[in-house]
């Protein structure tokens, strides 16, 4: 299974359980950008949850063997344990609308046997433009070039269909 090359069995179990528990979450950040074709590297997979208090998250963690470490000081809540070490919790996407609003700007990708929502690249860019951390500023030119390349490809892919239609 291709998913096994990326996620461990426990990580897959966690994602699958989130799906089973109907937890509202989506992939954001560099991993989401990479899924859409951005030539970027990332150490982790950012998960934006609509409601971190959703009991389904605790159920998924319990079933897959992970835990959530609550926030303290300046540190946001984090996941801990082999099942979830690849995933980072995102509480707020700076510069964007609410989770419910932004879900309209997402699409579903099947990662092996799990369906996950992925935030559109233009919204990832909008968030990085708003937060403007040094690491965001570094990657922004790459993401913008990717978005323009995707627009070009979309336009090009649409063009031959019109021509074929005219011929037929």
């Amino acid at each position: 299974m291709p998913e096994n090359l990326i996620f461990s069995k426990k990580e897959i179990a966690f994602l699958r359980e989130l799906e089973r528990q109907n937890v509202e979450f989506m992939l954001v950040g560099a991993a989401a950008a990479a899924l859409q074709g951005a030539p970027v590297v990332t150490q982790d997979v950012d998960l934006w949850f609509e409601d971190l208090k959703d009991p389904g998250i605790q159920t998924a963690l319990r079933k897959s063997g992970g835990i959530m470490v609550p926030s303290f000081g300046q540190n946001p809540p984090t996941f801990a344990g082999d099942a979830v070490k690849l995933f980072d919790i995102v509480l707020t996407m700076h510069g964007l609308e609410s989770f419910a609003q932004e879900k309209k700007n997402s699409f579903t990708v099947r990662l092996g046997t799990v369906d996950v929502n992925v935030l559109n690249l233009d919204r990832i860019i909008a968030s990085k433009e708003a937060i403007r951390r040094p690491k965001d500023l570094l990657v922004l030119p790459v993401l913008r070039d990717t978005l323009r390349t995707l627009s070009w490809k979309k336009m090009k892919d649409a063009a031959p269909k019109t021509l074929k239609g005219r011929k037929g």
Partner: protein, 121 residues
Amino acid sequence: MRLSGDNIKKLCGVRNLSLNALLKRAGVSKTAYYHLIDKESVLPRSIDALAAALDVRPFALLEEADRQSRRAIRILEATERIVARDPSMDRDNVRHTLLLLQEKPIERLRRSLLRARKPDL
């Protein structure tokens, strides 16, 4: 199968490379290059013999490599067209994006995570 000087010039063109620059980068001397260009066939005799025994052109045995080459040229040409429309774009970003778009999303993510873990890849 002959080496195509025209194809080489075309590939140089989309990369903004002169032939001299290409030869220097490849570590191929001008003598060696023009020797290859002049050869009736650049393939080992055994390949020609296999093709002859199968009653096909050597090209038929090299289809996969040829297909990959055509695909690479198409990506380079697309890169040139995109950058020509917007010169502020980085050519490498465009080319890498086009390459990644040929992969499935999960494969793109795999590459992204793998390269972060093994930056020397």
